[in-house]
Amino acid sequence: MLVKVFVTPRKGILDPQGRAVEQSLKSLGFDGAGAVRVGRYIVLELDAPSIEQARETVRQMCGQLLTNPNIEDYTFEIESAPNEDGPR
């Protein structure tokens, strides 16, 4: 299975990168841009017997290593692997 994890700075936590990007966007004239958060995108392949088990495993990965719950939130998507014989 293909796992995509999206990590963003937790709401309410100061995000200096997001603020700098927001200021740059505004200086380029994108006045409608706001609440910019800069995060991290992690992709991995996972062997798991079912989507449910994969979800649980990814939650454990996020809790233990991939994110710091003090300062970050995450969401993830899981896609079933493409046909093993087909091109990747």
Binding site: P9, I13, L14, P16, Q17, L65, L66, N68, I71
Partner: protein
């Protein structure tokens, strides 16, 4: 007293810490390898500055799972003294031995300069040789030093006196332009609730000789030595009074 300085791949200031302890302070300090689990009977563990594991993912996130960290966590939970400097502070936060986390500096730039920090609580093993409100001049050199913690956690920490160091100007006044990285409440160093684990972004080990530009860092190391000596004196006094009370009158 016996000290151990942990050497992770990417540690940079381990040698400076060993120099400060062995040559300047006359202590018995040794390096501890990240793959070992044996703390070799040391009385204080130092997690030095640097970029352990290349700062991949988040600063300190990978180092936290090094084999030696299992022993360091056990040692800290048993009341052992642990000092984390810069990257060591980041590792202690990732290992949940200290509250909060360190994020990218507000300027987004790496900062390398001398700063002033005020001693906020002297009733700890890490600050007992300093005066309340004393201002130390110490170097910082980091890209991720902006301290954050949840608001309720911060309130509890302030009430318990866990904030040991705050960025100020030379006169000890809190000013926004004296806060180099934008840390919440100008926090430069925090202890855990039992005051045996301390993390700070400034580098006391780089300020131990006049030739290095200052000796204020010695206050931190001297405090630790003083507290360990006082604890062992108190323990031996308790032993001898227990022994004498058993003696029939």
């Amino acid at each position: 007293m016996k000290w151990g300085v942990v050497r992770f791949p990417g540690s940079l200031d381990d040698t400076d810490a060993l120099w400060a302890l062995n040559h300047v302070m006359g202590q018995e300090a040794r390096a501890l390898w990240h793959k070992d689990e044996d703390l070799a009977g040391v009385q204080c563990v130092v997690l030095p500055g640097g970029f352990s594991y290349g700062d991949y993912l988040r600063c300190g996130a990978i180092a936290r799972f090094a084999p030696i960290m299992k022993s360091v966590v056990r040692f800290a939970n048993d009341g052992g003294l642990v000092l984390g400097i810069c990257n060591g502070f980041q590792i202690l936060c990732e290992a949940h031995l200290l509250p909060g986390a360190l994020m990218r500096n507000r300027s987004l730039s790496f900062i390398c300069e001398l700063v002033n920090v005020r001693i906020e609580n002297t009733a700890t093993p890490f600050t007992c040789a300093a005066r309340q409100g004393e201002v130390l001049r110490l170097p910082i050199k980091h890209g991720e030093g902006l301290y954050v913690a949840p608001a309720d956690e911060l309130r509890a920490m302030e009430e318990r006196g866990q904030v040991l160091l705050r960025y100020t100007d030379a006169a000890g006044r809190e000013r926004d332009d004296a806060n180099p990285n934008g840390s919440t409440r100008a926090i430069a160093g925090v202890a855990n609730a039992t005051f045996n684990v301390f993390g700070l972004m400034p580098h006391p080990e780089h300020a131990v000789e006049a030739a290095l530009g200052g000796e204020d860092g010695l206050k931190i190391f001297r405090s630790i030595v003083m507290s360990v000596e006082q604890a062992s004196a108190a323990a031996s006094a308790a032993r001898s009074s227990a022994a004498s009370s058993k003696t029939p009158a």
